[in-house]
C-alpha cells in the first residue's frame, strides 16, 4: 500500500511488473535504470539464477520528482515468470499499488500470456485484492518482431484486456513504450491515491 508521509512530504508507491517468463519484465527495469539520471534512481537489485532468469525479484527504486510539493518515489519490482515460482510471485505481489502486465506479443506465447494473467488474478484474489479495483496497465512487448510472428496490439487487447484498461505497444529492449507504460501506470496509481482511497 502507498505510504504518504505528510511531515516529510513524501509519497512511496509499489509497482509490480508481472507476466510470463521471458516477456521482458526485467528488460523494462533495465531500460529505465539506464535512462534515469543517477540521482533519481537507486541501485537495481536482481535476484537471478546463474542464467539471468529472475529467481526472486528485480527491484529498482525511482524518485520521480515533486508533484504538488510531494517527493514521489516509486518502487519497481518484477516477478519471476516461470510457473513454478508462484510462491515467490505471491510474496512480491503483496502490497502492490499497481501492476504492469508485460505480455509477450509472439503468437506462440499466447497461452503463456493467458495463463500468467489468470495466475495474477488468482494470486491477487488470494490476498483479498480484486484485480478490477487495482490500477493495471498492459504492455504488449516485442512488437518489433516480424509481423507474421506476433499478434497486433488490437489482437492482444481482444485476448487479454477484457476491462479495456490502458495498454501500450512496446519494444522494451530498445526502449519503445517503456516510459509510456511507466507514465501510464504511475498516473493511475497517483490519481487513485489523490482520490483518497489508498492513503496509509
Amino acid at each position: 500500500m502507498s505510504l504518504v508521509n505528510f511531515t516529510a512530504r513524501e509519497i512511496t508507491c509499489k509497482l509490480v511488473y508481472y507476466g510470463p517468463g521471458r516477456s521482458g519484465k526485467t528488460t523494462n527495469l533495465q531500460y529505465v535504470y539506464g535512462r534515469v539520471p543517477e540521482g533519481r534512481r537507486g541501485r537495481m537489485v536482481s535476484l537471478a539464477t546463474q542464467t539471468d532468469r529472475t529467481l526472486f525479484f528485480d527491484f529498482l527504486p525511482l524518485e520521480l520528482g515533486s508533484i504538488s510539493g510531494f517527493t514521489t518515489k516509486f518502487q519497481l519490482y518484477t516477478v519471476p515468470g516461470q510457473s513454478y515460482y508462484n510462491a515467490t510471485r505471491k510474496l512480491v505481489l503483496q502490497g502492490a499499488d499497481g501492476v504492469v502486465f508485460v505480455a509477450d506479443s509472439q503468437a506462440r506465447r499466447f497461452d503463456d500470456n493467458l495463463e500468467s494473467l489468470q495466475n495474477l488474478q488468482d494470486n491477487l484474489l488470494s490476498q483479498g485484492v480484486d484485480v478490477r479495483q487495482l490500477p493495471v496497465a498492459f504492455q504488449y512487448n516485442k512488437q518489433d518482431l516480424p509481423r507474421d510472428l506476433i499478434l497486433t496490439p488490437e489482437e492482444m487487447d481482444d485476448a487479454l484486456n477484457f476491462r479495456a484498461v490502458q495498454s501500450f505497444s512496446a519494444d522494451a529492449l530498445h526502449g519503445s513504450g517503456v516510459f509510456e507504460t511507466l507514465r501510464g501506470i504511475s498516473e493511475q496509481v497517483l490519481k487513485r491515491l489523490a482520490a483518497g482511497t489508498q492513503v496509509a
Partner: protein
C-alpha cells in the same frame, strides 16, 4: 533518524542508544519504510527494505511449508558487521526490523533491546488509527503537468 509517524521516534531513539546499532530500518511487511536511522541515501533505504521484506516473507513461507512456527528472528553473522532481521506485530500491522551492528555491540544486546523496542512500539502506538489525511485538492490537477515534466513527454 527519520520516522513516518512521531510516536515511533522515542522508542527507536532509545533502541539506538542502548543497542549501539549502526543502521536500523523499520518497514511494513510489504517493504515500505516506516522509520530509519543511519542510511545515507533514501533510495538505498528502499532497496534494503525490499530485500529485508523479501527475506522475511520467504523464510515465513518456508516455515509454513515445513509446518513450523514463524521464525522469530534471523541473524546473519558477518566478520565486521552483522545483521538482525525480525518481524513483529504492532497495532499498525505486521512490521519488520532490520538492524545492522558491528563489533562494538553483540547480537545478545541487539536482540535484548530489539525486544524492548517492539514492546515500546506496541505500548506507544496510538490506539485509534489517525484519520488518513487527504492530499491537497490540487494534487490531481497538478499531476498531469508534473508527469509531463518528469517523463519529458
Amino acid at each position: 533518524m527519520r520516522a513516518l509517524e512521531p510516536w515511533v521516534e522515542a522508542p527507536l531513539q532509545a533502541f539506538l542508544a542502548e543497542s549501539a546499532a549502526r543502521l536500523t530500518l523499520l518497514m511494513t511487511s510489504s517493504g515500505q519504510v516506516v522509520a530509519q536511522h543511519g542510511f545515507g541515501r533514501s533510495l538505498d533505504v528502499m532497496t534494503a527494505a525490499a530485500l529485508g521484506a523479501g527475506i522475511v516473507a520467504s523464510t515465513e513461507e518456508l516455515a509454513r511449508l515445513m509446518g513450523a512456527p514463524k521464525f522469530e528472528a534471523l541473524v546473519h553473522h558477518g566478520g565486521h558487521q552483522s545483521c538482525l532481521l525480525a518481524a513483529f506485530a504492532t497495532p499498525r500491522g505486521r512490521w519488520i526490523g532490520l538492524v545492522v551492528f558491528g563489533q562494538e555491540t553483540s547480537v545478545g544486546i541487539v536482540q535484548l533491546f530489539f525486544d524492548q523496542l517492539v514492546q515500546q512500539l506496541t505500548d506507544s502506538a496510538p490506539r485509534e488509527q489517525a484519520p488518513a489525511p487527504r492530499l491537497a485538492e490540487n494534487f490531481e490537477h497538478e499531476l498531469d503537468a508534473s508527469l509531463r515534466a518528469l517523463f519529458g513527454r
